[in-house]
């Protein structure tokens, strides 16, 4: 007891949010147990209470015994609905799902899996990040549902999913039940590609071992360009030309024949973020042109390659630099 008297000294006034318990994920899963679930009447709940009061006073005033019975039946429905609303959210298991990487400034979409393990279908469960747009799902008995929650990303690196609020008012909207959960879900945010268009470094520039490949070949269709004098009539896309104005020429690309090094040192400026941003733009452009490119960062070298996994490897390296 003596010890507990010392507590006032340590007592801090915390923000209202921390007054509520949050279900925190351990081993990537967490459960909304009864300790995490909060309940309050909604304004419809208060209106319903007013209804009961009116019916009760009416029954007393007019001495209508059956009025008492009906009032109590509705009061019973109110009380039972409180339990139903509570158990609609209780004991759900929450696990983190995937979150596809996005560029900074875009919306990151977190997938949150919610599992039902009490053999009771759950309806109209809302999940949202604080101040985010809610996603609503039903969960079948013994089944699972995936909530997709979006969050605006701002800077590169790992974006941790913030605290998630789960709410429900099902079945009768008289009570509002909510719980907070924290998952280990995180989304990789790539750096924003620079808006400033700087040409890709060429083999000649700056002595760097980058080389712009021949971009025109015969392998893959890569788009259209306007007809120029001297183009072979075989290359005119007649179908497309009939839709558009003027003649269009089909352009083809061949497999990149030579490699391009994208070097951190090749970027200029004092702002590291801007330089990363520039590199990102190059990676994106090189990938678009299907070039073979390598990435040279202060602590990391990625050997030249092309394709999707290489592309993401490079972007990941830039995001986490």
């Amino acid at each position: 007891m003596a010890n507990s008297l010392n507590i006032p000294g340590k007592f801090k006034i915390t923000s209202p949010k921390t007054w509520f318990r949050t279900a925190i994920a351990i081993n990537s899963a967490t459960r909304l147990s009864r300790r995490h679930i909060y309940i309050l009447p909604t304004r419809f709940g208060w209106l319903f209470a007013l209804l009961l009061l009116a019916l009760l006073t009416g029954s007393i005033n007019y001495s209508i015994s059956l009025g008492f019975a009906m009032t109590f039946l509705l009061a019973g429905v109110g009380a039972i609905s409180m339990l139903h609303t509570w158990r609609n959210l209780a004991n759900l298991k929450i696990t983190a799902g995937r979150a596809k990487p996005v560029f900074a400034g875009e919306n990151a979409v977190f997938e949150i899996n919610v599992h039902e393990e009490n053999n009771r279908a759950r309806y109209s469960i809302f999940a949202s990040f604080t101040a985010g747009k809610p996603d609503v799902q039903d969960i079948t008995a013994m089944g699972e549902s995936t909530f997709k929650l979006t969050l605006h990303s701002q800077k590169r690196g790992w974006l941790k999913a913030p605290k998630i609020t789960f709410t429900t008012e099902f079945p009768v909207s008289l009570f509002h039940v909510w719980a907070y959960a924290e998952t280990e879900c995180q989304c990789l945010i790539y750096p924003t590609p620079s808006l400033h268009s700087q040409t890709l470094p060429s083999i000649d520039s700056d002595g760097a071992t980058g080389q712009l490949s021949t971009t025109q070949g015969d392998d893959d269709f890569a788009g259209h360009r306007n007809y120029q004098f001297g183009d072979s009539p075989k290359r005119v896309d007649w179908k497309a030309s009939s839709r558009e104005q003027g003649l269009l020429i089909k352009q083809f690309q061949c497999e990149a024949s030579s490699t391009l090094w994208l070097d951190f040192n090749a970027t200029t400026g004092n702002n590291v973020e801007l330089r990363i941003s520039q590199l990102t733009r190059w990676v994106v452009e090189a990938n678009k042109l299907n070039l073979k490119y390598g990435l040279r960062l202060p602590q990391l070298n990625i050997q030249p390659n092309n394709g999707d996994s290489h592309y993401h490897q490079c972007l990941t390296a830039l995001a986490l630099m």
Partner: protein, 708 residues
């Protein structure tokens, strides 16, 4: 509050409006019996309009249409009820406003507010009627409203999307798109789920209702004034009598009261139920003595055995408590509602009877009442307005001049009724300005009040003190419950004359005209019994039997449900707990019972039924638990097979078993999807049988798996 708001502006699925329309249709059908006809008619119009809006995707009416409609509704109530207040008018106003609000009920918020208002309107029917079938109809309406509340509260992804779309394509040209979208999410399942859940909520609420109903302390009302018109529907004897009053009452088959006798039920001709005693004559009108009259209670000597009975009196908005002639009241404590006995032996409660009450009666069939008559009483009992009915007075004077004794005069009057062509009828002709003369010497057709009033008039004119007693005569024995039903159609009026040494003696002139009225009831006595209500007639024995059984059910309903009040409550608790309960103790009993009940209900509703885990998952969980003990945990994103491979590498000794279990598990889970998708029953069975076999294998393997 750091909680997330749930959007209330979304449109719920179509079921919501259908549930609402169903429940309001029930409610307004019930109101059709009690409110002006235009109220339910206007509901029908708005309900059909709202239905068409939903069905054909018509636009909702704009404010310029809704506002005048609302004002018109208010004016219509004012015009037909003369006010916006008072019981009928305010209920009508609420009903009309709810009917109109249908036209602007579209979002979740609208629906929920509407349902709560409709709950109120529906329960308010009880102000008008509380019959069993009405109660059942109300329950049905409450069920439907609860289902509406559920469907309005239900929101899912497609619902949200559809209404977003609707918001962005408000223009008429795009409404088809949102219509299709709305219909797409109409699961056939939705109706079933909502109905089932609504039923569940109501059934689970039932124990709470029962406990509160029995134990909630009943405060005797009213708390505040009750509108004037609140009891307009109640019928019963009036405090005055004019020819025509009682025969009006006789047309009603409403139950006046029911009586249970402790011993055998007396013969019909002895069943005179004493109501208002009328002394004053003013023209054709007879009235009671003033309440402030300071007369000593008439002396009463009784003989023979007392008859004990219990009466359940229907509310009639008057003060009299009917008793069998003649009640002996040992002390006023045995009477309900601070009732008192008046000097002329009528029992009056302090306040008008506005709820059904039960009270004990203690009467003697043989008695002598008022052995002596004071001068004041004699004056009162001989009072007549001068210069009226000269022929009648002439007849009376003739009898007096013949030196007849009072008993002879009575006999002379009765034999006049008996021997002259007097007719007992429900439809007597109208009487002229000298009503007694007109009746006795001209029309000779009348109902009991004609005979009683003209007889008393004759007696008084002949100097014999007399008064009129009104009440009920007879009653119908219900063999299903062994009690007596007395209806308004049994209303009766008779006379009491004061005789030396005998006191006030009952004389029923009607029995002289129509003995069968007194011997076997009104239906036997009347030639024109077609005018009587169906239930008071003697034809249709089957119907009669059915109605008697139904009345027995009703009697139980009245006593245990409708008549459940403070007294019944205390008596019941005394019976259960075997000791006297103070009114204040009920609160304590209520709170403790409610806590116990809520704990019990919560336990059943909130326990985690983990046992419900399906056997496949259960076996797999066991497997995971074993691996977890060995230090290998399954990650959330890992599939069963992927995890199996990883675990096999980590635990090479058991790698074969681990991989086998993982493969089995995933193949069973996969086959489950196939079962759901399989349409042909043969294929379905085959897969299911195969799966069962696999499940057994899985269970065995998991059981045998031993890890370090």
């Amino acid at each position: 509050m750091a909680t997330q708001k749930i959007p209330n502006k979304l449109e719920p699925s179509q079921q919501a409006i259908y549930w609402l329309l169903i429940s309001l249709s029930i409610t307004f059908t019930l109101y059709a019996f009690n409110l002006n006809n235009w109220v339910p008619a206007s509901f029908a119009v708005f309900a059909i309009w709202r239905y068409l809006i939903e069905k054909n995707n018509w636009p909702y009416p704009r404010l310029w249409l809704r506002l005048p409609l609302t004002i018109a509704g208010g004016v219509a109530v004012l015009a037909s009820y003369g006010s916006l207040f008072g019981r009928d008018a305010s209920v009508a106003l609420l009903a009309v406003m709810i009917a109109m609000k249908l036209l602007e009920t579209r979002t979740k918020r609208d629906f929920i507010v509407m349902v709560i208002l409709s709950y109120f309107l529906t329960v308010n029917i009880l102000l008008f009627t509380q019959a069993i079938w009405v109660c059942l109809a109300i329950l049905l309406a409450l069920f439907s409203l609860t289902a509406c509340l559920i469907s309005a509260s239900y929101q899912n992804a497609s619902n949200q999307k559809a209404s977003n779309q609707k918001a962005s394509y408000q223009n008429a040209s795009y409404q088809n798109i949102s219509l299709q979208n709305k219909q797409a999410l109409n699961h056939t399942q939705a109706w079933k789920v909502q109905a089932k859940l609504a039923g569940k909520l109501l059934l689970q609420a039932l124990p709470i209702m029962l406990v509160l109903f029995v134990l909630f302390p009943r405060i005797p009302g009213p708390i505040w004034g009750i509108p004037q018109d609140a009891y307009s529907g109640m019928t019963g004897l009036s405090d005055s009598m004019e020819p025509g009053n009682i025969n009006q009452l006789s047309l009603s088959s409403k139950v006046a009261f029911r009586a249970e006798f402790k011993s055998t039920i007396p013969a019909n001709h002895q069943l005179y139920w004493r109501g208002p005693v009328l002394w004053h004559q003013e023209g054709r009108r007879w009235t009671m003595t003033s309440n402030n009259i300071n007369l000593p209670t008439e002396t009463l000597e009784t003989a023979g055995v007392a008859t004990d009975y219990t009466i359940t009196l229907e509310p009639h908005n008057r003060n009299w408590l009917l008793m069998l002639d003649l009640p002996k009241v040992p002390s006023t404590d045995s009477l309900p509602d601070e009732a008192a006995i008046k000097h002329d032996m009528q029992v009056l409660s302090k306040l008008p009877i506005r709820t059904r009450i039960r009270y004990e009666g203690h009467s003697f069939l043989q008695y002598t009442l008022g052995a002596t008559l004071s001068d004041y009483e004699r004056t009162l009992a001989l009072q007549l307005i001068d210069d009226e009915n000269p022929k009648t007075r002439q007849l009376a004077t003739k009898w007096v001049n013949e030196q007849k004794s009072p008993v002879d005069i009575i006999q002379a009057a009765l034999s006049m009724f008996r021997n002259q062509p007097f007719v007992y009828t429900l439809s007597p002709p109208l009487l002229g300005s000298e009503p007694v003369d007109d009746f006795l010497f001209n029309t000779k057709r009348g109902f009991c009040e004609h005979y009683a009033s003209s007889f008393v008039y004759l007696m008084r004119a002949a100097g014999v003190p007399a008064r009129i007693v009104t009440g009920y005569q007879g009653g119908e024995i219900n063999p299903s419950g062994n009690y007596l039903i007395v209806r308004q159609s049994d209303a009766h009026a008779w006379a009491e004359v004061w005789l030396q040494d005998k006191g006030w003696t009952r004389v029923d002139p009607t029995s002289a005209v129509s003995p069968s009225r007194i011997e076997s009831g009104i239906a036997a006595a009347l030639l024109d019994s077609d005018l009587l209500p169906l239930l008071s007639r003697q034809d249709y024995p089957m119907l009669k039997k059915l109605t008697l059984n139904w009345d027995a059910v009703n009697n139980g309903w009245n006593q245990w449900v409708l008549g459940y009040d403070q007294n019944t409550q205390l008596a019941l608790l005394k019976k259960i707990l075997h000791k006297d309960i103070a009114w204040e103790d009920i609160g304590l009993i209520l709170v403790s019972t409610m806590i116990a009940l809520m704990l019990l209900v919560s336990y059943f509703l909130l326990r985690n039924n983990a046992a419900a885990l399906d056997p496949v998952k259960k076996a797999y969980q066991q497997f995971l638990k074993k691996l977890s003990k060995a230090g290998v945990n399954k990650l959330a994103h890992e599939g069963a097979v992927g995890f199996g491979e990883r675990a096999a590498k980590a635990l090479p000794d058991q790698s074969i078993e681990i991989q086998e279990i993982s493969a089995l598990y995933s193949s069973i889970q996969y086959a489950k999807h196939e079962i759901i998708n399989a349409n042909k029953t043969a294929a379905h069975c085959k897969i299911a049988a195969h799966n069962n076999h696999k499940l057994n294998l899985l269970k065995q393997l998991v059981k045998k798996l031993k890890l370090k």
